[in-house]
């Protein structure tokens, strides 16, 4: 595939997922300008490696590249964020965790939810964004985040648990103020 024909098929298969790419990069970098740079770089990488793409799932393929580019960027610019240990494999559902947060989520407004998601460690943030905003299946998430299926499931569970805790603390603060 050369020049113009490669560009044409790339524009058809990959360019339509620009919003998904930007959304993921924006959530991982938490900054508009950085997200734009990451997406731009990811698209150039994607174009370079487009020969290795065989037309299965353009979105998952692109998001995998966006994710890797984002992590490279985070490592370079915000390495402390990546150093949080995550014990995915351990199912640490303790007995008191079984009590659901006493929380009426219907009342949570977008601003608070956005803030709560941003507070999550990046590994939790990415599975939540892929699941809740991109509505990807576990299998697609596993492909994008390069994780085993079981880890996707446990990480999502832990991400939601943590999110609910953050939301509870935020709404608590709000109630007090």
């Amino acid at each position: 595939m050369e020049g113009q024909s490669k560009l044409a098929s790339f524009e058809t298969a990959v360019l339509p997922h620009l919003d998904a790419a930007y959304n993921l990069a924006r959530w991982l970098t938490r900054n508009d300008a950085d997200a734009e740079d990451v997406v731009q770089e990811a698209y150039m990488r994607a174009f370079k490696f487009f020969g290795g793409f065989h037309g299965e799932d353009g979105r998952a393929w692109l998001l995998g590249i966006v994710r890797n580019t984002s992590y490279t960027w985070l490592q370079r610019n915000r390495s402390p964020e990546l150093n949080l240990p995550l014990d995915d494999e351990v199912h640490d559902v303790k007995s008191d965790d079984l009590n659901p947060e006493a929380l009426l989520l219907q009342k949570v407004d977008a601003q608070i939810l956005r803030q709560a998601v941003e507070e999550l460690p990046v590994e939790f943030r990415e599975v939540l964004v892929l699941r809740e905003l991109d509505e990807m299946s576990y299998k697609q998430i596993a492909a994008v985040a390069d994780l085993p299926l079981g880890t996707v499931m446990s990480r999502l569970a832990r991400a939601r648990k943590r999110l609910q805790q953050i939301l509870a603390s935020h709404t608590g603060t709000e109630v007090l103020s």
Partner: protein, 255 residues
């Protein structure tokens, strides 16, 4: 199903990722367990909160423009990089074909390449010039006596060259020399005409057709070639063509 197991599967249940049998078990458990049922309600509430929240970031328009133009640039430079070799391929093929055709024509058309005779004439002129460069190189056997020169070749050549002295006609024999020409050992006889030297090269040929003299000129030297009695003769000298022809006639009459 225990609460712990149920809550492990609730996420996959909410996400529609649980197989049918497990889904039924989870659903049944929740009917009996208020704690797990409320955990489930929390998850679905969280999911719908996400759905309603417009948390999705859309790419700014300028980003799309930026990426499109970068892609075009990249595609262009890739085309330049990758096809550099291919772009020249047809030209390379054409040049190769032309060269091949030239070679074929050169090999098939005798007029366009030096003939065997021309190459030989060149070889003979070179030999003649070299023989004159050094006095010592001019003759192996110095004698104006044909009866001295002729036997000298015995045992050195697989043929007996006719050796004649033409002193009385103004072409004295100076001597003889062994040479290697036309891929074989040949006899070279040296004659003199005033200040000019004549080399007469002689060797036997397979086909014994007698031919007349063929005159050529090369680098200012006159050459005469003829075949007589199964012998090839090449006479070469800086002597003028008329006198060289006279010499050749003498040599042929003598045989």
């Amino acid at each position: 199903m225990s609460c712990q197991t149920a809550q492990e599967f609730i996420h996959a249940y909410v996400d529609g990722e649980l197989d049918l049998a497990r889904s039924l078990e989870v659903a049944q458990h929740m009917q009996e367990c208020e704690v797990c049922a409320s955990a489930y309600r929390n998850q679905t509430a969280l999911r719908s909160a996400f759905k309603d929240s417009s948390l999705y970031y859309s790419a700014p328009e300028k980003l799309e423009k930026r990426i499109r133009s970068s892609l075009r640039r990249e595609a262009k430079s890739e085309l330049g990089r990758r096809s550099f070799g291919w772009r020249w391929l047809p030209i390379g093929v054409a040049v190769t074909l032309v060269l091949l055709m030239v070679l074929v024509i050169w090999r098939t058309l005798p007029g366009l390449r030096p003939s065997a005779d021309e190459l030989l004439a060149q070889e003979i002129v070179s030999n003649h010039v070299r023989s004159l460069q050094l006095e010592s190189h001019r003759t192996d056997v110095i004698s104006s006596d044909q009866h001295t020169v002729k036997p000298w070749f015995d045992g050195k050549l697989d043929f007996a060259p006719p050796v004649k002295d033409f002193s009385s006609q103004g072409f004295p024999l100076m001597g003889g020399r062994l040479e290697y020409l036309n891929n074989r050992a040949v006899a070279a006889l040296i004659y003199q005409r005033q200040k000019h030297y004549i080399n007469l090269y002689i060797w036997p040929v397979e086909q014994g057709n007698n031919t007349g003299e063929v005159a050529t000129k090369r680098q200012g030297f006159n050459l005469l070639h003829w075949t007589n009695s199964s012998m090839d003769y090449w006479a070469v000298s800086d002597l003028n063509a008329v006198e060289l022809h006279e010499f050749a006639r003498l040599a042929q009459e003598a045989q």
